[in-house]
Each structure stands twice: as C-alpha cells, then as structure tokens.
Assembly symmetry: C2
Homo-oligomer: 180 residues x 2
C-alpha cells in the first residue's frame, strides 16, 4: 500500500539529502529560495600555506542556535527543521533542543511560517508538522509525555507524498498550511 514511497523514496538517501535536492529544484524553477544553513563550526587554528588555500587545522562543532533551513517563498519567510526518527508510533521530543524551539517561537511571532519535516524512516513516511503542535507538546513535556504521537502529527499536519520532481514537494503543503 506504500508503493509510491517505495518507488520514489530512495533507500540510501537521508531526509536532508532529499530536502536539499527538492530545494535545488525549487531554486532552479524560480519557485522559492530556501537553503540549508551551514554547520556552525568554532575555528581554533588555521594554517595559511604559501601557494594554496587556507587549511583549518583545528575546529569544533558548535551547537546550532537556529533551525536547519530558511528562506523565502512568495514573499513569505519560511523556517523549518528536518528530523528523522526510527520510532514507529511517535516522535520523541528529545530530537529537539530548547534553542531550536525558542528560535521557531520567535520566528512565529514575526509571522514567519515555521514547521518541522518529520520522517518516520521505518515506513518512509514524511509529515509536515505545524509548529503549534510541536510547541504544545514541548511546553507540556515535564508533566506529560515526551513524544508526539504519529496520529497527532498526521491529524494536525499533512502527510507528504513523495513525487518525482521535487522528491519532497513540501511547499504544496505549506500552501495548505497558510490557507488552513
């Protein structure tokens, strides 16, 4: 019954790769300008050889203070996280960091469009989850459950059907999110 996803959802490809490819399509087609932010790195030591490019000899990974992706689509600011889980029935909140939530809350206050693209890898199912759903569960996790049920994600958000081009046509669901 998930033939579509078995066909289009390339096995070895990570969710990020699939989204990057989709963003490339959106960019080249003039549909939207959305990029993955570079991994933040704390550079400690750089070597400058005489005749060639500078080489970073020592650096550390820094905690990202924002989300994975942002950009512009028809005048609208788009901001989202991409997350995969091996869980089958719910999405663990431990996948998020406080600062990512704070960033999304701040963007929402500025009328940005914020969401998470969640992939349940076991079934190759992808959902666009509105930030309100995330905030609701996040803010209640200390006296409640530590994960978001898949049915809630499906009900509050949209299941994204894989397509050929772009592989993950998430902007189609952003349109629906806006018109909801």
């Amino acid at each position: 019954k998930r033939t579509k996803n078995i066909v289009y959802g390339k096995r070895g490809m990570s969710l990020e790769d699939e989204i990057n490819e989709s963003n490339k399509y959106y960019l080249e087609s003039g549909i939207a300008v959305i990029h993955k932010k570079p991994t933040p790195v704390q550079i400690v030591d750089v070597f400058y050889p005489k005749r060639s490019a500078a080489v970073i000899k020592k650096a550390y990974f820094k905690q990202a203070s924002t989300t994975d992706y942002n950009g512009v689509y028809q005048g609208k600011y788009i901001d989202f996280e991409a997350k995969e889980t091996k869980n089958k029935t719910s999405f663990p909140l431990s996948n998020f960091h406080e600062h990512q939530i704070n960033h999304m809350k701040a963007c929402c206050k500025q009328d940005g469009i914020c969401f998470t693209i969640v992939k349940f890898v076991a079934d190759a199912q992808i959902f666009l989850m509105p930030s309100e759903t995330l905030f609701y569960y996040w803010d209640r996790q200390n006296n409640g459950r530590k994960s978001i049920p898949k049915e809630v994600i499906a009900q509050d958000g949209f299941e994204i059907a894989y397509e050929l081009q772009p592989r993950i046509p998430y902007l189609k669901y952003v349109d629906r999110l806006i018109n909801k």
Copy 2:
C-alpha cells in the same frame, strides 16, 4: 560634523560585530529574528576522542553561496550583505561575488527585501544600499565603471546614523525602503 559617528561607532569594532550586536538587540526586544549565517566549511577529517568532543582536524573554507544575513521582520523576509570598504568616494564591485548577486536577485523575485549595508570605514559612514542600485551597476560593469559612487548610494539608499541601542538601527531604514 560627524561627531555622532565618532561617539557611537566604536573604533575597533568590525561592521559585522556591530550588526551582530544590533541583531542581538532586535532579537531580545522581539523586533526581528535576523542571524548571520555560519561560515561554510568543507570538513575533511574529524577525530572522535573517547571522552571529549569531536575535533575537526582538517577542513577548508567554502565559497558562500548566499549572503551574510537573513531572517524575518514583521512577516517579511530580510536578506542582506554587509561590506566594508577603505575607498573614500565609491564602492568597488569586486567586493561582490556573482553568486551573491544571483542569490539576491532570486530573493527579490520572491518578494524578499534585499539590500547591502555598506560601510566607508575612513569616514565611519554607513549606508543601506537597495539591491536595485547594486544590480544596475553590476549588470553594466563590463562596459562601464567597476564601482558604485558614494553619492549614488546616498541618493538611492539611506545613510544610517549610529545610535546607542541598537548601534546600527538598520530596520528603521528598511521601513523606509518598504514605504518608498
């Protein structure tokens, strides 16, 4: 006659530092969410020590494919470059890369708000230059001049007066740019 800038424009501070500080103020005051993108780095070799954080042992600087800053302000997508020049009367186009221009053109087509914050360091003068001015000179540089005259920047854009908080109140001029 430039007393203001001598007072507020801290000597040792780079334009980026001044903008980062201003963005911090905007973020903490709930006015806008605008961040500097991390420097893109091509990671070649990572060492994972047993009991401590991963160390990047070899990496290279990558050419940025977009601009320095982006974010959201009152529902609007904001995208800009920050550039300093030691030139006194004009801003050399060699400060830009083709891909930055292409990125700004693509964002403008999506109705994003794009500009450059230009600092003439000799006089500690800062301008918000609309992207249209940049595109005009950029597209004509092969059979014309290779720099944008300061008077043109002042006329098409806005001189930004340093303030105490935020140091570079560029969003005030973004308001004017929108209402132009």
